[in-house]
Amino acid sequence: MTRRNCREMSVGELTPLGQWERPGEFFRLRLEGEGFARWTPGQFVMLRPLAWGPEILWGRPFSIAGADAGGVEIFFQVVGRGTARLAQLAPGEGVAVWGPLGNGFVLEPGVPVLMLAGGVGLAPFLGYAAAHQQPADLDLFFAHRLPLACYPYAELAATVKAEAMCEAVPADLERIIARMRERMAAMAGAGLVLACGPTPFLRTVRQAALDFGVRAQVSLENRMACGVGACLGCVSRDAHGHHVQVCTQGPVFWAGDVEL
């Protein structure tokens, strides 16, 4: 029987990031085993530790931060009971992994790319920078609330041109939005904008893309039960008002094709 898309992997490394700032909130997880020979940055995986009993039912979706034939890496923030349990995984523990799922970002060699990341939305861009043939064509704008050490930012800033702005107090938000729009306006005509982050962040990106006529893709992160298009729990509306499944028709959409 073929089970090519659901495999059991084991916990390799689970590394807390910036633990001196906010203990136990951000983690990088590497799972080892039969990895993914083929995947596209922006695609995601569903994870469910084998030891989870019936108390927590669903797997959890995560952007692929990196993958190779021997494993897959994700970056996550503890936001609820599922991620809190993932943060307690021990090396060697078994995890059911299904994926790669959904559609990733476009890769267009030679085209300047502005990557816009909000908080934990940085994850897919680690994979994007690794997969891109000319990382020198990539620019990153990163909006965050917690100290930079909480995110795998330095690693990315080593390979691409990166700018970060911190929303330390609510008044910072206006400056960040103005700067994002400025950066996006500069991409009009020639470039491509890729964005991942919370919905209000993506809404700003979508609006700027429409205002400036910039080609932009947004990666949505709706709550999911199955990840494979069966439960219809993760839908968003497309430009015509029809429901589209974020897991199988996204999570990456052209900004003009989806309502936010």
Binding site: P54, L57, W58, G59, G233
Partner: protein, 305 residues
């Protein structure tokens, strides 16, 4: 071990069916196992016309379960017949259409559309929907309405077995089962989801846009077992058990009561190969209990004297 099941004349290769709304049209799971190895697939609820379904959020995880209020989003029966059914291995496994309508005549029309389709093995009727012509109360909460819907579907089903899927949100599920039987149902599936609700203290909002939704998952298994037990006592026709099955042992508990077959629902979300693994594990689990075969095990529950 011979795991075949004769369900009202419909022969299933094993007793594992996937429950409507949890397995898409089956095609979504092709990458995770051999869908032809399943006893059958009950497809996503179908209506005559396409339905957009409910607004978001539509699902909420709860302890040992989940709530859903999807609202029968589906592309309509015609799209199913044209685009989905031809791609399904219907010669090798039973494809069961799940019918959703909001009045009796519409149920009959839907059955009529499916009746002549060679690839559809049976019809499962979802009576948990509101009856828009009769004040909006769910068909499934009124035995008289269950009789009428069952008769309407049976009359137009072209001889295909008709399964009525009962709601647990009733005072006397045995009466509902008898209503389905008297309306001509060939089998019963029990149970659909339990009506539930979850709220978010921080936002002070319900966790579903629809406010209330259907509870499923291991949390409901004891209720489902009780419902199946009461249905089995009430009728002669076969009963398909479902509600919270998340292991081979759970499936065997329903078979022990006397269920003819089982449906796996929410557990398909635990991992997408769950049902395929269950098909493989069930004979081993049955043998592990010392059972010679499925037929001798089924219904062997020992009740107190």
């Amino acid at each position: 071990m011979d795991m075949r099941v004769n369900l009202a004349g419909l022969v299933l290769k094993n007793p594992v069916l996937t429950a409507s709304g949890t397995f898409g049209f089956g095609l979504e799971f092709e990458g995770y196992g051999d869908i032809a190895s399943l006893g059958g697939i009950v497809v996503k609820g179908l209506s005559l016309k396409p339905r957009e379904g409910n607004p978001m959020p539509r699902v909420a995880e709860t302890p040992c379960g989940m709530l859903n209020a999807i609202g029968i989003q589906n592309p309509g029966v015609e799209v199913f017949l044209k685009d989905k059914l031809p791609r399904l291995p219907w010669r090798e496994t039973a494809i069961i259409a799940n019918l959703y309508a909001c009045d009796v005549a519409e149920f009959g029309d839907l059955a009529g559309v499916l009746a002549g389709e060679e690839g559809v093995a049976a019809l499962e009727v979802n009576v948990s929907c509101p009856n828009v012509r009769e004040g909006g109360a769910a068909f499934g909460q009124d035995p008289l309405q269950i009789v009428r819907v069952t008769e309407a579907v049976k009359k137009r089903a072209g001889g295909k077995p008709v399964i009525v899927k009962l709601s647990p949100n009733v005072t006397d599920i045995g009466a509902c089962a008898r209503a389905a039987e008297s309306g001509g149902a060939d089998a019963i599936s029990a149970v659909n989801t339990l009506l539930g609700m979850a709220v978010d203290l921080r936002t002070r909002r319900p966790r579903l846009a629809n406010v209330v939704g259907g509870l499923s998952g291991p949390a409901i298994k004891p209720v489902a077992l009780r419902c199946v037990f009461q249905c089995l006592k009430a009728v002669q026709i076969p009963v398909i058990g479902l509600g919270g099955i998340a292991s081979a042992e759970d499936a065997l508990e329903f078979l022990l009561l006397g269920a003819a077959a089982v449906q796996v629902g929410t557990a398909n979300f635990l991992r997408p190969d769950f049902s395929f693994r269950l098909v493989e594990e069930l004979p081993r689990a049955l043998a592990g209990l010392g059972a010679a075969d499925l037929d001798s095990f089924r219904g062997s529950l020992q009740l107190p004297l």
